[in-house]
C-alpha cells in the first residue's frame, strides 16, 4: 500500500526514520515534526534523495502544550488530506534519577505520556473529520508490567497504551484506525548506553512491522513478534516470584 501524505512527530528518531524510508515512493508527501531543525533537515534530504515527492519540516516544542493545537492545525492547513500519522517521539529516562529529581521525572512523564497522548487526540480529531486515515503511536513493552528498573517510563507508556485503547474505542466506526505499537529493545540512539543482548532488534525490522500492521486488522502490535510471548510470560509471573528478580 502506498501512503500519499504522512505526518511524523519525532521524525528524527531512529524508528521514525526507517518507517519514512520504507514508506517513500514518488507520490509521498511528508511533514516531519520535531524539536531539532538541523536533524529534521538531515532526514528531509535523505527522503528527498530517495525519491519522496515533497517534504516539509516543522520544528516545534512538543511538550509546550499551549502550542500543540496550533501546530496540528498548521499541518492540516498545509495538506487537506493526511492518510498516515505516526507519533514516534519519546525519551528513555534514567530511572534512578527519576526517584529523587522531581522536575526531571515530571518532564519524562510529559514527553513520554502527556505529549504523545494529547497529540494523538488532536490528530484523531482531524482524521475523524476526514472520515479515514491511520494513527500509529509508538508505545512500549515496558508499559505491560511495572518493574523496578524502569517503572516511570513503564507507567508513562502504560498510560499511553490505555489512552490509545480508549481513543480507539471512541474512533470505532468512524473510519479511523488507531494502532498501538509496542517495540521491545531496539538498537537506537535512545538505547545506545544499554548493553545489547540477543533480543535486540534493528529499527529496520520495527519499521517493517509497523508498515505491515498499518494495513492489517490488528490494533496492538508487539514488534518483533516474539515480544508478545515474552510479555505474556512476564505479566503472568506471580508477584512473590517477580519481586525476587532484578528485572
Amino acid at each position: 500500500m502506498k501512503f500519499k501524505s504522512i505526518v511524523i512527530f519525532g521524525a528524527s528518531s531512529a524508528i521514525a526514520q526507517e518507517v519514512a524510508r520504507q514508506a517513500t515512493s514518488n507520490e509521498t508527501h511528508f511533514i516531519l515534526v520535531g524539536r531539532d531543525e538541523h536533524k529534521l533537515s538531515v532526514v528531509a534530504s535523505d527522503l528527498k534523495s530517495r525519491g519522496a515527492a515533497a517534504i516539509r519540516v516543522v520544528s516545534g516544542d512538543l511538550i509546550n502544550f499551549s502550542e500543540i493545537k496550533a501546530l496540528v492545525d498548521v499541518l492540516w492547513n498545509d495538506l487537506d488530506y493526511i492518510d498516515f500519522v505516526l507519533i514516534a517521539h519519546g525519551s528513555l529516562p534514567d530511572q534512578v534519577r527519576c526517584e529523587t529529581d522531581m522536575d526531571y521525572a515530571c518532564s519524562q512523564l510529559e514527553i513520554n505520556f502527556i505529549s504523545s497522548a494529547l497529540i494523538a487526540q488532536l490528530a484523531a480529531n482531524r482524521l475523524k473529520l476526514q472520515g479515514s486515515g491511520t494513527l500509529a503511536v509508538i508505545s512500549s513493552v515496558a508499559g505491560d508490567r511495572g518493574r523496578q528498573s524502569l517503572y516511570l517510563y513503564g507507567a508513562a507508556k502504560a498510560g499511553l497504551s490505555t489512552f490509545l485503547e480508549g481513543l480507539r474505542h471512541r474512533m470505532y466506526g468512524t473510519g479511523v484506525k488507531v494502532l498501538t505499537i509496542k517495540p521491545g529493545l531496539v538498537d537506537t540512539p535512545m538505547t545506545a548506553h544499554l548493553k545489547k543482548g540477543p533480543l535486540v532488534s534493528s529499527p529496520k525490522v520495527i519499521a517493517h512491522d509497523i508498515l505491515k500492521a498499518m494495513v492489517s486488522s490488528k490494533d496492538v502490535v508487539y514488534t518483533p513478534w516474539f515480544w508478545h510471548w515474552i510479555m505474556l510470560i512476564i505479566r503472568s509471573i506471580p508477584r512473590c516470584l517477580f519481586y525476587k528478580t532484578k528485572l
Binding site: 536533524k39 538531515v42 534530504s45 535523505d46 534523495s49
Partner: protein, 435 residues
C-alpha cells in the same frame, strides 16, 4: 561501551571501547587525551587497519543518510556510513551503477575512500578515489572543511587511501556510471598457465570493462597457474532489477580442520572442471558477477575461530609475469592456499592518494587459513619476491607486514604524517610506523 568489533580476517578478538556517530553536524567526539580514535565502518578490512586496540573506535553505521542524488547527471552525495548495498538499491532503478566496486557491497563509502578500493574495472576507471568529486573532513581540532581536486587538494590526496587517519570523513560526493541493464554480458575462458593469462588479458583489457581471473593455487607441475579468465561488459539486455537481501548467514565458526589442503583442492578441481568448454558466454546479474560471496553472509567464519589472512600484492608490469609465476610456485609448493585466489592487472589511471595501493601492475590476492608459523614462513618468502620485483602490499588486507617493508613500500608516509590527525590512530598504523 566496550564491544567486539572485528576485522574481516578475525585474527584479533579484543573488545574495544566504541562511540557511535549519530548526526553529521555533531562535533568530533570528546575523549581522554591519552586515547586515540579510529572511524570504523563495516569492518571489511582484513587485518588491523580498521582496528584500534586499547583505544576507541568511532562506529559510523548511523551516519547513513543520503544528502542528494542527481539522477540525470549521475552524481550522489551521502554520509560516510552509507553502504554500497544501500546505494545500489537507490541508483539501479534509475539506470546508474557504482563507478567501481570491490568484491563485496557491504562496505561504507567512508571505507571506500580510506582504502581507495578498486574493482574489476581498474584498467578503465581507476580506483574509487578517481570517481570522488569531494568530501568533508572533520578534524579533532574542531575544524571541518571540504576537500576536492581544487579545494584543499593536498588533504584530498592524503585522505584518499589515507586509512581513515586524516580525520573523520563526514560526507562523500562521487560520480556514477550509466547503465541500461542490471546485467553483465560475461565471457569465461579457461587458461592453462600464466603465459596464457597474459595473452588473454592483453586483448580483454581493451574490449572489456571488467576483467579478473581466478587461479587454482593448489594445482602443481604442468597445471600450475591454470585458471579461469572472466571478462564482462554492462549489458543492454533485461531489466534494471535490484539485488535481493542475503539469504544465508553463517553465524557459527566452522571447526578449524574443515578447510584443509584436501577439501580446498577438491573445491578448486571442481571449480576448474565445472566449465567444460574452453570458452563460455553468459548473462549474469551484477549481484552474482561482482558479489558472489555476499549471498553467504559471514563467510569468513568458514576459516574457523583461528581466523585467516589475505595476502595481496601488486608487482610492476615489467616484472609481473616472472614474479607471479614464482609466487604461484611457492604457494603451490606450500599447499597452504585456499580457493579465493584472484589475479588481475591494474591500469595506468592517475593514482590520487598518497598512500593508495592500486597502481599499474599485476595484482595477486588470496586467502590463507591461519596455520601459525608455516603461514608466516610462506609470507616471508612471498615478501622477498614482492620486494625484489619492486612491488607493494595492500594495507587493507594486511595483518603482518613489517614496519621496514611498509616504510619502503610507501615512502610517502613521511609527507603523509603532516596530514594525519594527532588524535586518530589504528592498530595497523602503530604497527607499521613503530609509534
Amino acid at each position: 561501551m566496550k564491544e567486539l568489533l572485528e576485522s574481516w580476517g578475525r585474527l584479533s578478538k579484543t573488545k574495544t571501547e566504541t562511540i557511535s556517530g549519530m548526526w553529521i553536524q555533531d562535533n568530533f567526539p570528546m575523549m581522554s587525551t591519552s586515547q586515540s580514535l579510529l572511524p570504523y565502518g563495516l569492518g571489511r578490512s582484513y587485518g588491523d587497519s580498521c582496528l584500534n586496540e586499547g583505544n576507541i573506535l568511532f562506529n559510523t553505521k548511523k551516519l547513513n543518510h543520503f544528502i542528494s542524488f542527481d539522477s540525470s547527471a549521475g552524481s550522489i552525495r551521502c554520509e560516510a556510513g552509507v553502504t554500497f548495498d544501500q546505494i545500489l538499491q537507490l541508483i539501479i532503478p534509475h539506470g546508474w551503477f557504482l563507478p567501481t566496486t570491490p568484491g563485496t557491497k557491504y562496505i561504507t563509502v567512508g571505507g571506500a575512500i580510506a582504502n581507495d578500493v578498486h574493482g574489476k574495472n581498474h584498467h578503465k576507471t581507476g580506483s574509487f578515489g578517481n570517481s570522488v568529486s569531494s568530501f568533508e573532513l572533520l578534524r579533532s581540532d574542531g575544524s571541518r572543511f571540504e576537500c576536492s581536486r581544487t579545494r584543499n587538494s593536498e588533504w584530498f590526496n592524503a585522505t584518499i587511501g589515507g586509512l581513515g587517519l586524516t580525520g573523520i570523513i563526514t560526507w562523500v560526493e562521487f560520480k556514477l556510471r550509466k547503465i541500461k541493464s542490471a546485467y553483465i554480458d560475461v565471457v569465461s575462458t579457461k587458461f592453462s598457465g600464466i603465459n596464457e593469462f597474459f595473452d588473454l588479458n592483453d586483448d580483454a583489457d581493451k574490449q572489456y570493462e571488467h576483467t579478473v581471473a581466478w587461479i587454482d593455487c593448489l594445482a602443481k607441475g604442468p597445471s600450475l597457474g591454470r585458471g579461469i579468465f572472466i571478462a564482462g561488459n554492462h549489458s543492454d539486455k533485461r531489466s534494471l532489477r535490484i539485488h535481493p537481501g542475503a539469504k544465508f548467514s553463517i553465524t557459527l565458526d566452522f571447526p578449524n580442520f574443515m578447510l584443509n589442503s584436501l577439501s580446498i583442492s577438491s573445491f578448486n578441481f571442481a571449480y576448474y572442471y565445472k566449465q567444460l568448454k574452453k570458452q563460455k558466454s553468459s548473462l549474469s546479474h551484477y549481484n552474482s558477477f561482482f558479489y558472489p560471496l555476499d549471498s553467504l553472509g559471514g563467510w569468513n567464519r568458514i576459516y574457523g575461530s583461528r581466523g585467516f589472512y589475505q595476502y595481496q600484492s601488486v608487482i610492476p608490469m615489467h616484472n609481473g609475469k616472472a614474479a607471479t609465476q614464482e609466487m604461484l610456485r611457492l604457494i603451490s609448493k606450500s599447499g597452504q592456499a585456499s580457493f579465493l585466489a584472484v589475479l588481475k592487472t591494474f591500469g595506468d589511471m592517475p593514482r590520487l592518494g598518497m598512500l593508495s595501493f592500486p597502481r599499474r601492475g599485476v595484482t595477486l590476492a588470496l586467502d590463507f587459513p591461519n596455520n601459525g608459523l608455516a603461514t608466516q614462513k610462506l609470507f616471508s618468502e612471498l615478501d622477498c619476491i614482492v620486494r625484489e620485483s619492486g612491488g607493494v602490499l595492500y594495507p587493507a588486507k594486511d595483518a603482518r607486514m613489517s614496519a621496514l617493508d611498509f616504510t619502503s613500500f610507501y615512502p610517502q608516509y613521511l609527507s603523509f604524517q603532516k596530514y594525519k590527525d594527532p588524535r586518530i590512530s589504528s592498530s595497523f598504523w602503530r604497527r607499521v610506523t613503530n609509534i
